[in-house]
Symmetry: D2
Subunit: 152 residues, 4 copies
Protein backbone atom coordinates (compact mmCIF):
# COMPACT_ATOMS: atom_id res chain seq x y z
CA UNK A 1 0.00 0.00 0.00
CA UNK A 2 1.39 3.42 -0.93
CA UNK A 3 2.84 5.69 1.76
CA UNK A 4 4.96 8.15 -0.23
CA UNK A 5 5.00 10.04 -3.51
CA UNK A 6 7.29 12.45 -5.30
CA UNK A 7 5.92 15.11 -7.65
CA UNK A 8 8.11 17.25 -9.86
CA UNK A 9 7.45 20.72 -11.23
CA UNK A 10 9.01 23.94 -12.49
CA UNK A 11 8.83 27.26 -10.67
CA UNK A 12 6.68 29.78 -12.55
CA UNK A 13 7.43 33.50 -12.92
CA UNK A 14 4.09 34.33 -11.30
CA UNK A 15 5.17 32.45 -8.17
CA UNK A 16 8.09 34.78 -7.47
CA UNK A 17 7.91 38.00 -5.47
CA UNK A 18 9.88 41.24 -5.49
CA UNK A 19 12.65 39.64 -3.40
CA UNK A 20 13.38 37.55 -6.51
CA UNK A 21 12.36 34.34 -4.72
CA UNK A 22 9.30 32.13 -4.64
CA UNK A 23 6.69 33.64 -2.33
CA UNK A 24 6.50 31.41 0.73
CA UNK A 25 2.75 30.85 0.42
CA UNK A 26 3.43 28.84 -2.75
CA UNK A 27 5.26 26.13 -0.78
CA UNK A 28 1.83 25.17 0.55
CA UNK A 29 0.45 24.93 -2.97
CA UNK A 30 3.35 22.67 -3.93
CA UNK A 31 2.46 20.41 -0.99
CA UNK A 32 -1.12 20.27 -2.20
CA UNK A 33 0.04 19.25 -5.67
CA UNK A 34 1.96 16.32 -4.20
CA UNK A 35 -1.08 15.37 -2.13
CA UNK A 36 -3.29 15.33 -5.24
CA UNK A 37 -0.74 13.19 -7.08
CA UNK A 38 -0.41 10.82 -4.11
CA UNK A 39 -4.17 10.29 -3.80
CA UNK A 40 -4.42 9.83 -7.55
CA UNK A 41 -1.61 7.26 -7.60
CA UNK A 42 -3.30 5.49 -4.69
CA UNK A 43 -6.58 5.36 -6.57
CA UNK A 44 -8.45 7.68 -4.19
CA UNK A 45 -11.02 10.08 -5.61
CA UNK A 46 -10.35 13.41 -3.86
CA UNK A 47 -13.78 14.90 -4.38
CA UNK A 48 -16.36 12.19 -3.78
CA UNK A 49 -19.83 13.33 -4.50
CA UNK A 50 -23.16 11.66 -3.99
CA UNK A 51 -26.35 13.51 -4.90
CA UNK A 52 -26.65 16.47 -2.53
CA UNK A 53 -23.35 15.71 -0.81
CA UNK A 54 -19.87 17.12 -1.22
CA UNK A 55 -16.99 15.40 0.51
CA UNK A 56 -13.71 17.26 0.64
CA UNK A 57 -10.37 17.59 2.30
CA UNK A 58 -10.07 20.75 4.38
CA UNK A 59 -6.87 21.34 6.33
CA UNK A 60 -6.70 21.36 10.10
CA UNK A 61 -3.11 22.57 10.14
CA UNK A 62 -0.31 23.44 7.74
CA UNK A 63 3.29 24.24 8.57
CA UNK A 64 6.51 24.79 6.67
CA UNK A 65 10.12 25.46 7.60
CA UNK A 66 12.05 27.23 4.87
CA UNK A 67 15.72 26.38 4.51
CA UNK A 68 16.70 27.52 1.01
CA UNK A 69 15.14 29.90 -1.49
CA UNK A 70 13.54 28.77 -4.75
CA UNK A 71 13.84 30.83 -7.91
CA UNK A 72 12.13 31.23 -11.28
CA UNK A 73 12.89 28.27 -13.54
CA UNK A 74 14.04 25.93 -10.74
CA UNK A 75 12.90 22.33 -10.97
CA UNK A 76 11.67 20.99 -7.65
CA UNK A 77 10.82 17.57 -6.26
CA UNK A 78 8.08 17.48 -3.66
CA UNK A 79 8.28 14.35 -1.54
CA UNK A 80 5.16 13.36 0.42
CA UNK A 81 5.13 10.72 3.14
CA UNK A 82 2.13 9.57 5.19
CA UNK A 83 3.05 10.29 8.79
CA UNK A 84 -0.14 9.13 10.50
CA UNK A 85 -3.53 7.80 9.47
CA UNK A 86 -6.05 8.89 12.08
CA UNK A 87 -9.78 8.29 12.52
CA UNK A 88 -10.85 11.40 10.64
CA UNK A 89 -7.61 12.81 9.28
CA UNK A 90 -4.27 12.08 7.68
CA UNK A 91 -0.95 13.66 8.69
CA UNK A 92 1.43 14.25 5.81
CA UNK A 93 5.08 15.20 5.85
CA UNK A 94 6.58 17.04 2.89
CA UNK A 95 10.12 17.76 1.81
CA UNK A 96 10.75 20.13 -1.06
CA UNK A 97 14.04 19.79 -2.93
CA UNK A 98 15.59 22.06 -5.52
CA UNK A 99 17.46 20.22 -8.25
CA UNK A 100 20.90 21.75 -8.75
CA UNK A 101 22.84 21.97 -11.99
CA UNK A 102 25.43 19.47 -10.75
CA UNK A 103 22.82 16.77 -10.15
CA UNK A 104 22.67 17.27 -6.38
CA UNK A 105 19.57 18.39 -4.50
CA UNK A 106 19.13 21.09 -1.85
CA UNK A 107 16.29 20.83 0.66
CA UNK A 108 14.33 24.09 0.38
CA UNK A 109 11.55 23.31 2.78
CA UNK A 110 10.08 20.76 5.15
CA UNK A 111 6.40 20.85 5.93
CA UNK A 112 3.47 19.12 7.55
CA UNK A 113 -0.18 19.16 6.75
CA UNK A 114 -3.12 17.62 8.58
CA UNK A 115 -5.91 16.94 6.15
CA UNK A 116 -9.38 16.16 7.46
CA UNK A 117 -11.97 14.01 5.75
CA UNK A 118 -15.11 16.12 5.87
CA UNK A 119 -18.50 16.69 4.32
CA UNK A 120 -20.77 19.66 4.03
CA UNK A 121 -23.89 19.16 6.08
CA UNK A 122 -27.32 20.59 5.22
CA UNK A 123 -26.60 23.96 6.84
CA UNK A 124 -23.47 24.39 4.72
CA UNK A 125 -21.12 23.78 7.63
CA UNK A 126 -18.13 21.47 7.31
CA UNK A 127 -18.21 18.38 9.48
CA UNK A 128 -15.37 15.92 9.91
CA UNK A 129 -16.30 12.26 9.29
CA UNK A 130 -14.46 8.97 9.69
CA UNK A 131 -12.18 7.86 6.90
CA UNK A 132 -14.10 5.18 4.99
CA UNK A 133 -12.75 1.62 5.10
CA UNK A 134 -11.98 1.48 1.36
CA UNK A 135 -9.85 4.60 1.69
CA UNK A 136 -7.97 3.15 4.66
CA UNK A 137 -7.14 0.17 2.53
CA UNK A 138 -5.58 2.39 -0.11
CA UNK A 139 -2.93 4.04 2.04
CA UNK A 140 -0.67 3.24 4.96
CA UNK A 141 1.82 4.98 7.24
CA UNK A 142 5.37 5.45 6.02
CA UNK A 143 8.23 3.62 7.79
CA UNK A 144 10.43 5.81 9.98
CA UNK A 145 13.34 5.67 7.54
CA UNK A 146 11.22 7.13 4.72
CA UNK A 147 10.10 9.99 6.96
CA UNK A 148 13.71 10.63 7.93
CA UNK A 149 15.17 10.37 4.45
CA UNK A 150 13.20 10.27 1.19
CA UNK A 151 14.04 7.28 -0.95
CA UNK A 152 14.47 9.51 -4.02
CA UNK B 1 -29.47 53.62 -11.06
CA UNK B 2 -25.78 52.93 -10.52
CA UNK B 3 -23.42 52.71 -13.48
CA UNK B 4 -19.99 53.22 -11.89
CA UNK B 5 -18.04 52.40 -8.79
CA UNK B 6 -14.57 53.07 -7.40
CA UNK B 7 -12.84 50.60 -5.11
CA UNK B 8 -9.61 51.36 -3.30
CA UNK B 9 -6.95 48.96 -2.07
CA UNK B 10 -3.27 48.53 -1.19
CA UNK B 11 -0.83 46.41 -3.18
CA UNK B 12 0.29 43.33 -1.24
CA UNK B 13 3.81 41.90 -1.19
CA UNK B 14 2.47 38.57 -2.47
CA UNK B 15 1.15 40.35 -5.59
CA UNK B 16 4.61 41.41 -6.76
CA UNK B 17 6.94 39.34 -8.93
CA UNK B 18 10.71 39.18 -9.32
CA UNK B 19 10.66 42.22 -11.61
CA UNK B 20 9.70 44.19 -8.49
CA UNK B 21 6.27 45.03 -9.94
CA UNK B 22 2.74 43.73 -9.55
CA UNK B 23 2.30 40.57 -11.61
CA UNK B 24 0.00 41.46 -14.48
CA UNK B 25 -2.50 38.69 -13.71
CA UNK B 26 -3.43 40.57 -10.52
CA UNK B 27 -4.88 43.47 -12.51
CA UNK B 28 -7.72 41.08 -13.38
CA UNK B 29 -8.26 40.29 -9.72
CA UNK B 30 -8.43 44.02 -8.96
CA UNK B 31 -11.14 44.36 -11.64
CA UNK B 32 -13.07 41.55 -10.00
CA UNK B 33 -12.87 43.30 -6.64
CA UNK B 34 -14.42 46.43 -8.14
CA UNK B 35 -17.11 44.31 -9.78
CA UNK B 36 -17.99 42.68 -6.44
CA UNK B 37 -18.15 46.11 -4.78
CA UNK B 38 -20.27 47.52 -7.61
CA UNK B 39 -22.81 44.68 -7.44
CA UNK B 40 -22.91 44.97 -3.66
CA UNK B 41 -23.48 48.72 -3.78
CA UNK B 42 -26.22 48.14 -6.38
CA UNK B 43 -27.91 45.58 -4.12
CA UNK B 44 -27.29 42.62 -6.43
CA UNK B 45 -26.54 39.22 -4.85
CA UNK B 46 -23.63 37.84 -6.88
CA UNK B 47 -24.21 34.19 -6.07
CA UNK B 48 -27.92 33.51 -6.20
CA UNK B 49 -28.82 30.04 -5.15
CA UNK B 50 -32.07 28.18 -5.16
CA UNK B 51 -32.19 24.56 -4.01
CA UNK B 52 -30.16 22.54 -6.48
CA UNK B 53 -29.21 25.59 -8.51
CA UNK B 54 -26.07 27.71 -8.62
CA UNK B 55 -26.13 30.95 -10.56
CA UNK B 56 -22.81 32.62 -11.18
CA UNK B 57 -20.89 35.11 -13.22
CA UNK B 58 -18.35 33.48 -15.52
CA UNK B 59 -16.30 35.67 -17.86
CA UNK B 60 -16.66 35.56 -21.62
CA UNK B 61 -13.69 37.86 -22.16
CA UNK B 62 -11.15 39.84 -20.15
CA UNK B 63 -8.61 42.33 -21.42
CA UNK B 64 -6.17 44.81 -19.97
CA UNK B 65 -3.73 47.38 -21.33
CA UNK B 66 -0.89 48.13 -18.95
CA UNK B 67 0.44 51.68 -18.97
CA UNK B 68 2.35 52.08 -15.69
CA UNK B 69 3.74 49.61 -13.18
CA UNK B 70 2.32 49.12 -9.70
CA UNK B 71 4.56 48.39 -6.75
CA UNK B 72 4.33 46.98 -3.22
CA UNK B 73 2.54 49.38 -0.90
CA UNK B 74 0.92 51.48 -3.64
CA UNK B 75 -2.65 52.56 -3.07
CA UNK B 76 -4.82 52.09 -6.13
CA UNK B 77 -8.27 53.19 -7.21
CA UNK B 78 -10.16 50.80 -9.46
CA UNK B 79 -12.87 52.59 -11.39
CA UNK B 80 -15.63 50.44 -12.90
CA UNK B 81 -18.15 51.72 -15.44
CA UNK B 82 -20.98 49.75 -17.05
CA UNK B 83 -20.32 49.90 -20.78
CA UNK B 84 -23.22 47.80 -22.03
CA UNK B 85 -26.06 45.79 -20.54
CA UNK B 86 -26.86 42.94 -22.91
CA UNK B 87 -29.44 40.14 -22.86
CA UNK B 88 -27.23 37.65 -21.06
CA UNK B 89 -24.12 39.62 -20.18
CA UNK B 90 -22.72 42.91 -18.94
CA UNK B 91 -19.70 44.71 -20.41
CA UNK B 92 -17.57 46.53 -17.88
CA UNK B 93 -14.80 49.02 -18.38
CA UNK B 94 -12.09 49.42 -15.74
CA UNK B 95 -9.44 52.02 -15.12
CA UNK B 96 -6.80 51.39 -12.49
CA UNK B 97 -5.06 54.42 -11.00
CA UNK B 98 -2.03 54.60 -8.77
CA UNK B 99 -2.18 57.33 -6.15
CA UNK B 100 1.00 59.35 -6.14
CA UNK B 101 2.64 61.04 -3.17
CA UNK B 102 1.84 64.51 -4.55
CA UNK B 103 -1.90 63.79 -4.67
CA UNK B 104 -2.02 63.19 -8.41
CA UNK B 105 -3.01 59.87 -9.98
CA UNK B 106 -1.32 57.85 -12.74
CA UNK B 107 -3.38 55.47 -14.88
CA UNK B 108 -1.73 52.06 -14.56
CA UNK B 109 -4.18 50.04 -16.61
CA UNK B 110 -7.38 50.11 -18.62
CA UNK B 111 -9.40 46.96 -18.97
CA UNK B 112 -12.62 45.40 -20.13
CA UNK B 113 -14.50 42.40 -18.92
CA UNK B 114 -17.59 40.72 -20.30
CA UNK B 115 -19.40 38.92 -17.51
CA UNK B 116 -22.11 36.40 -18.37
CA UNK B 117 -25.12 35.56 -16.26
CA UNK B 118 -25.12 31.76 -16.14
CA UNK B 119 -26.33 28.75 -14.26
CA UNK B 120 -25.06 25.23 -13.88
CA UNK B 121 -27.44 22.77 -15.52
CA UNK B 122 -28.02 19.18 -14.36
CA UNK B 123 -25.02 17.83 -16.26
CA UNK B 124 -22.72 20.31 -14.54
CA UNK B 125 -22.28 22.42 -17.67
CA UNK B 126 -22.50 26.20 -17.54
CA UNK B 127 -25.35 27.72 -19.51
CA UNK B 128 -25.88 31.42 -20.07
CA UNK B 129 -29.33 32.72 -19.15
CA UNK B 130 -31.12 36.07 -19.56
CA UNK B 131 -30.46 38.74 -16.98
CA UNK B 132 -33.53 38.76 -14.71
CA UNK B 133 -35.74 41.85 -14.75
CA UNK B 134 -34.99 42.80 -11.13
CA UNK B 135 -31.29 42.79 -11.88
CA UNK B 136 -31.79 44.98 -14.96
CA UNK B 137 -33.55 47.47 -12.77
CA UNK B 138 -30.56 47.68 -10.46
CA UNK B 139 -28.00 48.82 -13.01
CA UNK B 140 -27.75 50.96 -16.10
CA UNK B 141 -25.20 51.91 -18.76
CA UNK B 142 -22.72 54.67 -18.00
CA UNK B 143 -22.87 57.96 -19.95
CA UNK B 144 -20.11 58.42 -22.52
CA UNK B 145 -18.36 61.07 -20.42
CA UNK B 146 -17.98 58.67 -17.48
CA UNK B 147 -16.49 56.01 -19.76
CA UNK B 148 -14.08 58.61 -21.16
CA UNK B 149 -13.10 60.15 -17.85
CA UNK B 150 -13.89 58.78 -14.39
CA UNK B 151 -15.65 61.31 -12.18
CA UNK B 152 -13.20 60.60 -9.35
CA UNK C 1 6.41 50.77 21.57
CA UNK C 2 4.00 48.81 19.38
CA UNK C 3 3.58 45.06 19.86
CA UNK C 4 0.26 44.34 18.15
CA UNK C 5 -1.80 45.38 15.16
CA UNK C 6 -5.16 44.51 13.68
CA UNK C 7 -5.78 44.66 9.92
CA UNK C 8 -9.19 44.28 8.36
CA UNK C 9 -10.09 43.07 4.89
CA UNK C 10 -12.76 41.44 2.72
CA UNK C 11 -12.47 37.97 1.22
CA UNK C 12 -12.14 38.09 -2.56
CA UNK C 13 -13.80 35.70 -5.02
CA UNK C 14 -10.39 34.77 -6.41
CA UNK C 15 -9.35 33.57 -2.94
CA UNK C 16 -11.99 30.83 -2.80
CA UNK C 17 -11.59 27.30 -4.14
CA UNK C 18 -14.01 24.71 -5.46
CA UNK C 19 -14.96 23.67 -1.92
CA UNK C 20 -16.60 27.09 -1.67
CA UNK C 21 -14.16 28.22 1.02
CA UNK C 22 -11.02 30.35 1.12
CA UNK C 23 -8.04 28.30 -0.05
CA UNK C 24 -5.87 27.68 3.02
CA UNK C 25 -2.73 29.15 1.40
CA UNK C 26 -4.40 32.57 1.53
CA UNK C 27 -4.37 32.57 5.35
CA UNK C 28 -0.60 33.07 5.03
CA UNK C 29 -1.11 36.02 2.71
CA UNK C 30 -3.51 37.55 5.23
CA UNK C 31 -0.80 37.21 7.90
CA UNK C 32 1.64 38.98 5.62
CA UNK C 33 -0.80 41.84 5.14
CA UNK C 34 -1.02 42.34 8.90
CA UNK C 35 2.77 42.21 9.14
CA UNK C 36 3.10 44.94 6.48
CA UNK C 37 0.55 47.09 8.30
CA UNK C 38 2.26 46.50 11.65
CA UNK C 39 5.70 47.50 10.35
CA UNK C 40 4.17 50.52 8.62
CA UNK C 41 2.39 51.63 11.78
CA UNK C 42 5.64 51.16 13.71
CA UNK C 43 7.49 53.32 11.21
CA UNK C 44 9.70 50.51 9.89
CA UNK C 45 10.60 50.49 6.19
CA UNK C 46 10.15 46.88 5.07
CA UNK C 47 12.42 47.02 2.05
CA UNK C 48 15.52 48.99 2.98
CA UNK C 49 17.82 49.50 0.07
CA UNK C 50 21.21 51.02 -0.18
CA UNK C 51 23.03 51.14 -3.53
CA UNK C 52 23.71 47.54 -4.54
CA UNK C 53 22.00 46.11 -1.47
CA UNK C 54 18.56 44.67 -0.90
CA UNK C 55 17.42 43.96 2.61
CA UNK C 56 14.29 41.89 3.00
CA UNK C 57 12.22 39.72 5.27
CA UNK C 58 12.27 36.06 4.26
CA UNK C 59 10.40 33.54 6.41
CA UNK C 60 12.11 30.85 8.42
CA UNK C 61 8.83 29.19 9.33
CA UNK C 62 5.11 29.66 8.87
CA UNK C 63 2.30 27.72 10.50
CA UNK C 64 -1.47 27.94 10.72
CA UNK C 65 -4.21 26.00 12.50
CA UNK C 66 -7.56 26.30 10.79
CA UNK C 67 -10.63 26.29 13.01
CA UNK C 68 -13.44 27.76 10.90
CA UNK C 69 -13.88 28.28 7.17
CA UNK C 70 -13.88 31.69 5.50
CA UNK C 71 -16.15 32.47 2.57
CA UNK C 72 -16.44 34.99 -0.26
CA UNK C 73 -17.50 38.38 1.04
CA UNK C 74 -16.59 37.72 4.68
CA UNK C 75 -14.92 40.56 6.55
CA UNK C 76 -11.96 39.40 8.60
CA UNK C 77 -9.78 40.91 11.30
CA UNK C 78 -6.17 39.76 11.34
CA UNK C 79 -4.59 40.33 14.74
CA UNK C 80 -0.78 40.32 14.92
CA UNK C 81 1.19 40.20 18.16
CA UNK C 82 4.98 40.22 18.54
CA UNK C 83 5.79 36.98 20.33
CA UNK C 84 9.58 37.28 20.48
CA UNK C 85 12.24 39.69 19.21
CA UNK C 86 15.39 37.67 18.54
CA UNK C 87 18.88 38.61 17.34
CA UNK C 88 18.13 38.11 13.67
CA UNK C 89 14.43 37.37 13.57
CA UNK C 90 10.99 38.23 14.91
CA UNK C 91 8.33 35.69 15.95
CA UNK C 92 4.80 36.78 15.22
CA UNK C 93 1.54 35.29 16.36
CA UNK C 94 -1.61 35.79 14.28
CA UNK C 95 -5.27 35.26 14.97
CA UNK C 96 -7.76 35.55 12.12
CA UNK C 97 -11.36 36.33 13.02
CA UNK C 98 -14.46 36.28 10.85
CA UNK C 99 -16.95 39.02 11.65
CA UNK C 100 -20.43 37.54 12.01
CA UNK C 101 -23.70 39.25 11.15
CA UNK C 102 -24.70 39.45 14.83
CA UNK C 103 -21.60 41.45 15.75
CA UNK C 104 -19.73 38.49 17.27
CA UNK C 105 -16.46 37.13 15.91
CA UNK C 106 -15.40 33.55 15.15
CA UNK C 107 -11.72 32.60 15.23
CA UNK C 108 -10.96 31.07 11.83
CA UNK C 109 -7.25 30.51 12.25
CA UNK C 110 -4.29 30.91 14.54
CA UNK C 111 -0.82 31.13 13.07
CA UNK C 112 2.81 31.82 13.68
CA UNK C 113 5.49 33.21 11.45
CA UNK C 114 9.21 33.61 12.04
CA UNK C 115 10.52 36.41 9.90
CA UNK C 116 14.25 36.82 9.39
CA UNK C 117 16.09 40.06 8.78
CA UNK C 118 18.30 39.28 5.80
CA UNK C 119 20.23 40.75 2.94
CA UNK C 120 21.31 39.48 -0.43
CA UNK C 121 25.07 39.07 -0.58
CA UNK C 122 27.17 39.50 -3.73
CA UNK C 123 26.59 35.92 -4.90
CA UNK C 124 22.83 36.42 -4.75
CA UNK C 125 22.44 34.23 -1.65
CA UNK C 126 20.31 35.35 1.28
CA UNK C 127 22.14 35.92 4.52
CA UNK C 128 20.54 36.64 7.87
CA UNK C 129 21.84 39.72 9.67
CA UNK C 130 21.26 41.22 13.10
CA UNK C 131 18.24 43.43 13.59
CA UNK C 132 19.53 47.01 13.57
CA UNK C 133 19.26 49.01 16.78
CA UNK C 134 16.81 51.55 15.36
CA UNK C 135 14.47 48.75 14.37
CA UNK C 136 14.68 47.18 17.82
CA UNK C 137 13.62 50.52 19.25
CA UNK C 138 10.51 50.54 17.09
CA UNK C 139 8.96 47.30 18.35
CA UNK C 140 8.68 45.26 21.52
CA UNK C 141 7.28 41.91 22.67
CA UNK C 142 3.59 41.65 23.48
CA UNK C 143 2.47 40.99 27.06
CA UNK C 144 1.18 37.47 27.73
CA UNK C 145 -2.42 38.63 27.98
CA UNK C 146 -2.35 40.11 24.48
CA UNK C 147 -0.97 36.86 23.07
CA UNK C 148 -3.68 34.92 24.88
CA UNK C 149 -6.55 37.24 24.00
CA UNK C 150 -6.47 40.05 21.45
CA UNK C 151 -7.56 43.36 22.87
CA UNK C 152 -9.94 43.89 19.94
CA UNK D 1 13.55 29.32 -36.35
CA UNK D 2 10.84 28.57 -33.77
CA UNK D 3 7.46 30.27 -33.98
CA UNK D 4 5.25 28.03 -31.85
CA UNK D 5 5.33 25.93 -28.71
CA UNK D 6 2.93 23.72 -26.78
CA UNK D 7 3.16 23.36 -23.00
CA UNK D 8 1.16 20.84 -21.02
CA UNK D 9 0.08 20.97 -17.42
CA UNK D 10 -2.50 19.81 -14.85
CA UNK D 11 -5.03 22.06 -13.17
CA UNK D 12 -4.33 22.49 -9.45
CA UNK D 13 -6.94 22.62 -6.69
CA UNK D 14 -5.67 26.05 -5.66
CA UNK D 15 -6.49 27.37 -9.15
CA UNK D 16 -10.23 26.69 -8.82
CA UNK D 17 -12.77 29.07 -7.32
CA UNK D 18 -16.10 28.59 -5.57
CA UNK D 19 -17.89 28.19 -8.91
CA UNK D 20 -15.98 24.88 -9.17
CA UNK D 21 -14.02 26.13 -12.18
CA UNK D 22 -10.54 27.53 -12.79
CA UNK D 23 -10.46 31.21 -11.84
CA UNK D 24 -10.14 33.16 -15.07
CA UNK D 25 -7.02 35.03 -13.94
CA UNK D 26 -5.11 31.75 -14.08
CA UNK D 27 -5.53 31.55 -17.87
CA UNK D 28 -3.02 34.40 -18.03
CA UNK D 29 -0.58 32.47 -15.85
CA UNK D 30 -0.93 29.49 -18.17
CA UNK D 31 -0.04 31.75 -21.11
CA UNK D 32 3.03 32.93 -19.26
CA UNK D 33 4.12 29.34 -18.65
CA UNK D 34 3.96 28.65 -22.39
CA UNK D 35 5.90 31.85 -23.05
CA UNK D 36 8.66 30.78 -20.65
CA UNK D 37 8.83 27.34 -22.27
CA UNK D 38 8.90 28.88 -25.76
CA UNK D 39 11.76 31.25 -24.92
CA UNK D 40 13.62 28.43 -23.22
CA UNK D 41 13.21 26.11 -26.23
CA UNK D 42 14.37 28.96 -28.48
CA UNK D 43 17.47 29.45 -26.35
CA UNK D 44 16.50 32.95 -25.14
CA UNK D 45 17.41 33.95 -21.58
CA UNK D 46 14.28 35.65 -20.20
CA UNK D 47 16.00 37.65 -17.49
CA UNK D 48 19.21 39.08 -18.89
CA UNK D 49 21.26 40.89 -16.34
CA UNK D 50 24.41 42.89 -16.62
CA UNK D 51 25.91 44.54 -13.52
CA UNK D 52 23.43 47.17 -12.36
CA UNK D 53 20.94 46.34 -15.11
CA UNK D 54 17.78 44.24 -15.14
CA UNK D 55 16.16 43.44 -18.45
CA UNK D 56 12.69 41.97 -18.33
CA UNK D 57 9.50 41.32 -20.20
CA UNK D 58 6.61 43.45 -18.97
CA UNK D 59 3.24 43.16 -20.72
CA UNK D 60 1.73 45.96 -22.73
CA UNK D 61 -1.55 44.12 -23.17
CA UNK D 62 -3.16 40.80 -22.30
CA UNK D 63 -6.49 39.44 -23.46
CA UNK D 64 -8.40 36.19 -23.27
CA UNK D 65 -11.72 34.89 -24.58
CA UNK D 66 -13.11 32.05 -22.51
CA UNK D 67 -15.05 29.37 -24.37
CA UNK D 68 -15.13 26.36 -22.04
CA UNK D 69 -14.50 25.93 -18.31
CA UNK D 70 -11.49 24.13 -16.88
CA UNK D 71 -11.76 22.00 -13.76
CA UNK D 72 -9.52 20.53 -11.07
CA UNK D 73 -7.43 17.67 -12.45
CA UNK D 74 -7.90 18.59 -16.13
CA UNK D 75 -4.85 18.26 -18.35
CA UNK D 76 -4.43 21.24 -20.65
CA UNK D 77 -2.30 22.04 -23.68
CA UNK D 78 -1.27 25.68 -24.06
CA UNK D 79 -0.33 26.47 -27.65
CA UNK D 80 1.74 29.60 -28.26
CA UNK D 81 2.32 31.09 -31.71
CA UNK D 82 4.37 34.20 -32.52
CA UNK D 83 1.93 36.59 -34.19
CA UNK D 84 4.24 39.53 -34.81
CA UNK D 85 7.83 40.48 -34.01
CA UNK D 86 7.99 44.26 -33.60
CA UNK D 87 10.81 46.70 -32.86
CA UNK D 88 10.41 46.59 -29.10
CA UNK D 89 7.78 43.93 -28.53
CA UNK D 90 6.45 40.53 -29.52
CA UNK D 91 2.78 39.68 -30.06
CA UNK D 92 1.83 36.19 -29.00
CA UNK D 93 -1.33 34.23 -29.66
CA UNK D 94 -2.40 31.49 -27.26
CA UNK D 95 -4.93 28.69 -27.47
CA UNK D 96 -5.72 26.66 -24.39
CA UNK D 97 -7.14 23.18 -24.90
CA UNK D 98 -8.64 20.78 -22.39
CA UNK D 99 -7.84 17.15 -23.06
CA UNK D 100 -10.99 15.05 -22.94
CA UNK D 101 -11.26 11.43 -21.80
CA UNK D 102 -12.08 10.28 -25.35
CA UNK D 103 -8.83 11.68 -26.75
CA UNK D 104 -10.44 14.76 -28.28
CA UNK D 105 -9.63 18.34 -27.23
CA UNK D 106 -11.92 21.25 -26.39
CA UNK D 107 -10.70 24.82 -26.81
CA UNK D 108 -11.16 26.51 -23.44
CA UNK D 109 -9.62 29.87 -24.27
CA UNK D 110 -7.95 31.98 -26.90
CA UNK D 111 -5.68 34.79 -25.86
CA UNK D 112 -3.19 37.41 -26.92
CA UNK D 113 -0.32 38.99 -25.11
CA UNK D 114 2.00 41.80 -26.14
CA UNK D 115 5.29 41.45 -24.36
CA UNK D 116 7.72 44.36 -24.33
CA UNK D 117 11.48 44.12 -24.13
CA UNK D 118 12.38 46.58 -21.39
CA UNK D 119 14.99 47.57 -18.89
CA UNK D 120 14.91 49.37 -15.59
CA UNK D 121 16.65 52.74 -15.85
CA UNK D 122 18.51 54.46 -13.03
CA UNK D 123 15.35 56.01 -11.56
CA UNK D 124 13.70 52.61 -11.32
CA UNK D 125 11.32 53.30 -14.20
CA UNK D 126 10.74 50.72 -16.91
CA UNK D 127 11.85 51.73 -20.38
CA UNK D 128 11.18 49.76 -23.55
CA UNK D 129 14.24 49.03 -25.68
CA UNK D 130 14.77 47.50 -29.11
CA UNK D 131 14.89 43.73 -29.36
CA UNK D 132 18.57 42.81 -29.72
CA UNK D 133 19.70 41.26 -33.01
CA UNK D 134 20.62 37.91 -31.48
CA UNK D 135 17.15 37.60 -30.04
CA UNK D 136 15.55 38.42 -33.40
CA UNK D 137 17.54 35.60 -34.90
CA UNK D 138 16.13 33.15 -32.40
CA UNK D 139 12.45 33.57 -33.24
CA UNK D 140 10.23 34.28 -36.22
CA UNK D 141 6.56 34.92 -36.98
CA UNK D 142 4.23 31.97 -37.34
CA UNK D 143 2.65 31.18 -40.72
CA UNK D 144 -1.05 32.05 -41.02
CA UNK D 145 -2.10 28.39 -40.93
CA UNK D 146 -0.43 27.84 -37.55
CA UNK D 147 -2.19 30.88 -36.11
CA UNK D 148 -5.49 29.59 -37.48
CA UNK D 149 -5.05 25.99 -36.40
CA UNK D 150 -2.38 24.64 -34.06
CA UNK D 151 -0.43 21.77 -35.55
CA UNK D 152 -0.90 19.73 -32.39
Amino acid sequence: MPYEHTSTRRIEFSETDMAGLVHFSNFFKYMETAERDFFEAAGVDLIRTKPGELVGWPRARAECKFSAPLRFGDTIDIHLAVKAVKDRAIDFQFRIFRRNADGSRTQAGKGHMTTIFAQLNETGALQSVELPADLRECITEAPAEVLAKPSR
